[in-house]
């Protein structure tokens, strides 16, 4: 029982307080706002590291170390609703990741949002997001998690629509909110069902929690429709929430549009932390999903679904990313694809691999987004990669860090964290007993990732600056961003490289930390089983992707912004389909949205004819009554009333002479009354 684990609540509360103060701060207090938000986040970060170190030094005797504090929130009937917080390795690494990446992005935002009029509001929202996200990862109650879950959804909505005067931003915000809501409804149903089944929403509660053996066995043994175990059904419902939040197919459509928000927001919320919340959720309720009647040997139905959804998303989004031209959209589809990877990892049982990829991805994707932000900033708010080019010369620091991020994402072997985590996932997928499908999909995804990242880097950083050719009049050359923006880039780049060393097959420290084992360094592990073979295979895919990309885009960089893409020349139809994102939005517009509108029209018709008709009848009846009423009032009541009033006024005139305005006369009356009262009491037999 350490100090930090009993005061873990401080971590989300500090940014929450900052946000509350900022909410009532007037706009011009820029430095104050930034200092408060960053200060609170820095404190939260310190505390998070403290929590992490505490977890690190925790006594690991058998199984995962957990420390949780539950408290009662409110009473419903005779039941108390409990909330609580939890400190375990998963929480600890997530806390550290969220607060560290968050802190860096907060600092970066100072530079990026410098010119914005609503600076204070921005930091208020950011701090609120930080608070909710930190609360989410340390929740020991599915309810608290859901509250924070909705709060991050809210801040995501607010921040995507931060520039609400842009119609596209407002539309994107609404889209994000509504799309994720579809998943959240299922999530909430899952929560209710879980509460109904187990009577608690606490994850761990000395054996009584819903993720502990007692509740799980009872849920596994009962079945619902078509023989599905209740735990599987609940798990799938909860997974729906994760699908919405993490932008998995088919609810991925909101995430690329969410890039309308400011770039730090894209980096923080829509790349590193919030979208990973879905993955975190799946990791958190992993015991529930994993529960199957056959014990550990049998693969549960829920996880199979997770694996397939993840692997399809990974390839699907990567395909789309190949044909995009907006720098941030490419990264957004890449995020969707990588989140698919994480889901895939969790689905095939590679719990630790999935979380490891989550952490490394958070770092290098935040790095890429911030780098993209720096590029956009440097190119005067230009987002189309066809109008960039040659930025290597103008923005050396950004280029270097961006290249590191790109190589980490692509999975360039040995030195970059993405390689190790992706390899770990492929390894888990290979070992999955059900099917090899996800494994091959993962390999294709790896190839595509390497390809589109190479394409993007070639477009942005190689060749000549194309915007200057297109527009001579505005001949502004790109420039490097200020230090407040590049410093976080450098720190993140270091993270993107170094983090990989924590989870190599030779020294799987991270994976063992999460699963509560003691890691040992053994170089020989690299050569055991199919480890080396898989590594070689994935290296081959990556090399293929990068090589193809370089061959297509790097050797002969495009010289004009309007020039057609090399792929487009080869296969215009396929490329067009990819550029149109497989027309998912259009399909949705034609089916779901149109259907909703139809339903709305039917409801409206019903309302207008049937309901309104009833109301109108009632109105006429009421009108008739009131007319009667008025008649009676005027001719029956008023006449009599007037007469009595006149009489009353006359008598009141007489009485009013008693009210002469002399206060002391009133007092005297009171005095006499008191004397009489006392007399009555004494001689009336009162005493």
């Amino acid at each position: 029982m350490s100090w930090i684990s009993s005061n873990l609540w401080l971590i989300p509360v500090l940014p929450l307080l900052a946000s509350a103060v900022l909410a009532v701060t007037k706009q011009p207090h820029r430095r104050f706002a930034a200092a408060l938000a960053i200060g609170s986040m820095a404190l939260a970060c310190l505390l998070s590291w403290d929590a992490f170190l505490t977890t690190l030094h925790a006594p690991a005797h058998g199984g995962i170390w957990r420390d949780f504090h539950n408290f009662r929130w409110f009473q419903m009937g005779d039941q108390w609703l409990w909330l609580g917080w939890l400190l375990d390795p998963l929480t600890a690494v997530m806390l550290v990741m969220v607060s560290t990446v968050g802190l860096l992005i907060f600092i970066y935002s100072v530079g990026y949002m410098e010119q914005d009029a609503n600076f204070t509001r921005f930091f208020c929202f950011l701090a609120l997001f930080g608070s909710a996200m930190l609360g989410l990862v340390m929740a020991n109650s599915l309810l608290l998690l859901f509250i924070c879950w909705e709060l991050v959804g809210l801040t995501s909505y607010l921040l995507i629509g931060f520039w609400y005067h842009k119609p596209s931003a407002a539309a994107a915000a609404t889209k994000a909110f509504i799309t994720t809501r579809i998943g959240d409804v299922c999530f909430f149903l899952g929560i209710l069902w879980l509460y109904g089944q187990s009577g608690t929403l606490l994850f761990y509660d000395h054996g009584r929690g819903c993720l502990e053996a007692t509740a799980l066995t009872s849920m596994v043994t009962q079945t619902t429709i078509s023989g599905m175990a209740i735990s599987t059904a609940i798990g799938l419902l909860i997974f729906c929430g994760a699908v919405g939040k993490s932008g998995q197919v088919p609810l991925h459509v909101w995430l690329p549009d969410a890039m309308e928000g400011p770039t730090p927001v894209s980096a923080l919320i829509h790349a590193a932390t919030m979208v990973a919340a879905g993955v975190f959720l799946v990791a958190r309720v992993f015991p529930l999903l994993n529960a199957s009647s056959g014990g550990g040997a049998e693969v549960s139905g829920a996880l199979t679904v997770v694996a397939w959804v993840g692997s399809i998303t990974a390839v699907f989004a990567a395909c789309i990313a190949v044909a995009q031209t907006d720098i941030k959209r490419i990264l957004a589809y890449s995020t969707v694809s990588q989140l698919g990877y994480m889901m895939l990892a969790l689905g095939v049982g590679g719990y630790a691999a999935g979380v490891f990829h989550l952490i490394t991805h958070a770092f290098f994707k935040a790095l890429l987004f911030l780098g993209a932000g720096s590029v956009i900033h440097g190119c005067h708010e230009e987002q189309d990669i066809r109008r960039m080019g040659g930025l290597r010369k103008y923005m050396p620091a950004t280029f270097a860090t961006y290249a590191i991020g790109m190589m980490a994402l692509a999975g360039v072997p040995v030195f970059f964290s993405g390689f190790w985590s992706k390899d770990d996932i492929l390894h888990s997928a290979f070992a999955w007993p059900v099917s090899k499908g996800p494994f091959f999909l993962g390999l294709i995804g790896a190839f595509l990732t390497a390809f589109y990242m190479t394409r993007q880097v070639c477009y942005v950083f190689y060749g000549d600056y194309r915007s200057a050719h297109g527009n001579k009049r505005q001949n502004k050359m790109p420039h490097e961003s200020p230090a407040v923006m590049t410093t976080p880039l450098k720190i993140l780049a270091a993270g993107a490289i170094l983090l990989g060393l924590l989870g190599t097959p030779a020294w799987p420290w991270f994976q063992d930390f999460l699963t509560g084992q003691h890691a040992t360094f053994r170089f020989g592990q690299l050569f055991e089983g199919e480890v080396l073979g898989l590594m070689l295979l994935s290296t081959l895919m990556v090399a293929g992707g990068i090589g193809l990309g370089w061959w297509l885009y790097g050797l002969k960089p495009a010289t004009k912004a309007e020039a057609a893409d090399p792929l487009e020349r080869v296969q215009p139809a396929v490329f067009g389909l990819l550029r149109e994102k497989f027309r998912v939005d259009e399909i949705y517009a034609a089916t779901v949205i149109k259907g909703t509108f139809r339903l709305g029209e039917i409801c409206s018709w019903f309302e207008r004819t049937v309901c309104e008709g009833c109301i109108r009848v009632v109105t006429y009846v009421a009108l008739g009554f009131s007319w009667l009423n008025r008649f009676a009032d005027e001719y029956v009541v008023n006449l009599g009333f007037d007469t009595s009033c006149r009489n009353l006024r006359q008598s009141a005139g007489l009485l009013s002479s008693l009210q002469d305005g002399q206060v002391q006369n009133y007092l005297r009356v009171i005095g006499v009354a008191m004397a009489i009262l006392v007399l009555l009491l004494v001689w009336g037999g009162g005493l």
Partner: protein, 165 residues
Amino acid sequence: MQAAFFIIAALIVIGGLAAMLVRKLVHAVLWLMVTLASLAALFLLLGAQFVGFAQILVYVGAVAILIVFAILLTRNSEWAKAGRLASPSWLVGVGIAGLATGCLIASILASSIPPGVPVPPAASVADIGQKLMTEYVLPLEAVGLLLTAAMIGAVIIAMPEDKRG
């Protein structure tokens, strides 16, 4: 004990009478303070230490100063030199007061209250604090609210009208 009671009682009555009879308002306030301070002494004599101190703190420290300020702010009332001291029908007022007091005293003397226990109930400050925070917490909050309202009300009433906005 007895001597103390009689001295204090005499001070109270003399102070009260003088407060009501003197011509100068400021002197009336000073006499009032004599009465109230003696009353505080009587409270101490009766074992109600906390009440006695509170009485001095509130009346001598606050109410007296308030009245004095009010007197000085209504300058021409300070010296009641012109005109009569009492209202024209003062005899009626005194008569009524005498009647009321007579009734009270008569009823007190005629009543059959048991003479009472000599041992005073202990009222340590800690007890009072304990009770104020537990049993009497609602009245305490109400009084706090009332005093706040009274303060704001007094400020607004006494503020010159052109400043009230």
